[in-house]
């Protein structure tokens, strides 16, 4: 077998190779160092989980009639951009065409993800608005203003959320006390526990009857899933 011609240098003694290995090593060290720094960087109180609170039963907010043909469950995170896209682009059409006509109702279940530093503040704010019967206006306003209070925008989301709460006409004394007391923390934790018990790993995740679908839904996709779930329910009832 023919051997590769040797340049007379031992492996590793070639200056070009040595420079190359040094460069590889430098990039690896800098890269791993940067990733380690980003991983170790304080992310704030991300989970904000309080294990001392009582364990409640999961309970979401219902939009639409409780006698609608189908109740779609949405597991969502207020800081998740895909949830924001769904709330601002798709949901208005769903309200007009499917909710107002009694075809469907949506149950919103909190699923705050640990990757979002400010999401717990937004979930608590929405529940406190719900305390005054304004969960859905707050839900919409929180998503519409997501870029003002999210982790990239501010380290003090409660201030921005209070401005949003004021904008939808909440009684601010009641709201501020509710947020300060973390009145609905245990309820949000119960809802998150439900999402985790179902092994969901994505927001938004929708449950259409027996079908679980993760990710952003356009109106057409949502409508098709609703129709399929209603048809499946009717077919099962005929058997």
């Amino acid at each position: 077998m023919a051997k590769k011609p040797s340049n007379g240098r031992k492996p590793g003694k070639n200056p070009a190779m040595r420079g190359f290995y040094l460069l590889i090593g430098a990039i690896a060290v800098v890269g791993i160092g940067a990733l380690s720094y980003l991983s170790a960087r304080p992310k704030g109180a991300v989970s904000q989980w309080d294990s001392s609170l009582p364990k409640l039963t999961a309970q979401g907010h219902l939009e639409g009639s409780d006698s609608a043909q189908l109740e779609v469950v949405e597991f969502a995170d207020f800081e998740c951009p895909a949830c924001g896209q769904f709330a601002t682009l798709t949901e208005p059409d769903i309200r007009t065409h499917l909710i107002d006509s009694g075809v469907v109702s949506i149950r919103y279940i909190d699923f705050p993800l640990s990757i979002h530093r400010n999401t717990w503040n937004a979930h608590r704010a929405a529940w406190c608005a719900g305390d005054q019967g304004k969960f859905w206006p707050m839900h919409d306003a929180i998503y519409q203003n997501q870029d003002r209070w999210n982790s990239e925008a501010t380290d003090n989301p409660d201030n921005v959320l209070a401005g949003i709460a004021q904008g939808i006409g909440l009684n601010m004394d009641t709201y501020t006390q509710c947020v300060k007391d973390k009145k609905y923390q245990a309820q949000i934790q119960a809802n998150e526990t439900l999402a985790e018990s179902r092994h969901l790993d994505q927001t938004p995740t929708f449950v259409f009857g027996n079908k679980v679908i993760g990710g952003y839904e356009t109106y057409d996709q949502f409508k098709a899933n609703v129709e399929a779930a209603i048809a499946a329910t009717k077919a099962a009832a005929r058997k």
């Binding site: 590769k4 190359f20 990733l35 895909a82 952003y216």
Partner: protein
């Protein structure tokens, strides 16, 4: 510096980029550095998972494989083996096809662009171009012999 060396260096950059996105998916890195805010939309979309595993994690495996083959091709022991050039063309060609599909999904399904994904697609495209250059150079060497 040879074409294969540049290829190995770029593949290592790809490993680090994919590792960054994977750490975000695992919740180890809080939020992605993404000015437009569309990175997370793409990263959390339904197309971000393949066989239940995040695309970024597949990306780490892919770039590690390309890096390993490129390092073998750089070494004096395996450097003369033409099969490594072919393997690099095949691997990076597959990467271009997969990245092309992901870019299509971003543009026409998710309607959002993640700059880190664009970075990865660019790395893969350059890797493929370098692999083709290396393959042509190897073919000429064999003909010359």
């Amino acid at each position: 510096m040879t074409t294969r060396m540049v290829l190995a260096l770029l593949a290592l950059c790809g490993v680090l980029l994919a590792a960054y996105l994977s750490l975000h998916d695992l919740g180890i890195i809080g939020s992605l550095a993404c000015g437009s805010g569309s990175c997370e939309l793409v990263q959390t979309s339904r197309w971000s998972r393949l066989l239940g595993i995040h695309v970024a994690v597949w990306g780490v495996g892919y770039y590690v494989l390309v890096f390993g083959v490129a390092m073998a091709a750089v070494s004096e022991r395996f450097g003369g083996d033409p099969r490594l050039s072919l393997a690099l063309v095949g691997l990076t060609g597959w990467g271009v096809l997969f990245s092309g599909w992901l870019t299509y999904v971003e543009l026409f399904r998710i309607h959002a662009i993640c700059r880190w994904c664009v970075g990865s697609a660019t790395i893969v495209a350059v890797l493929f171009a370098l692999a083709l250059l290396d393959y042509r150079a190897q073919a000429r060497t064999v003909v010359g012999e």
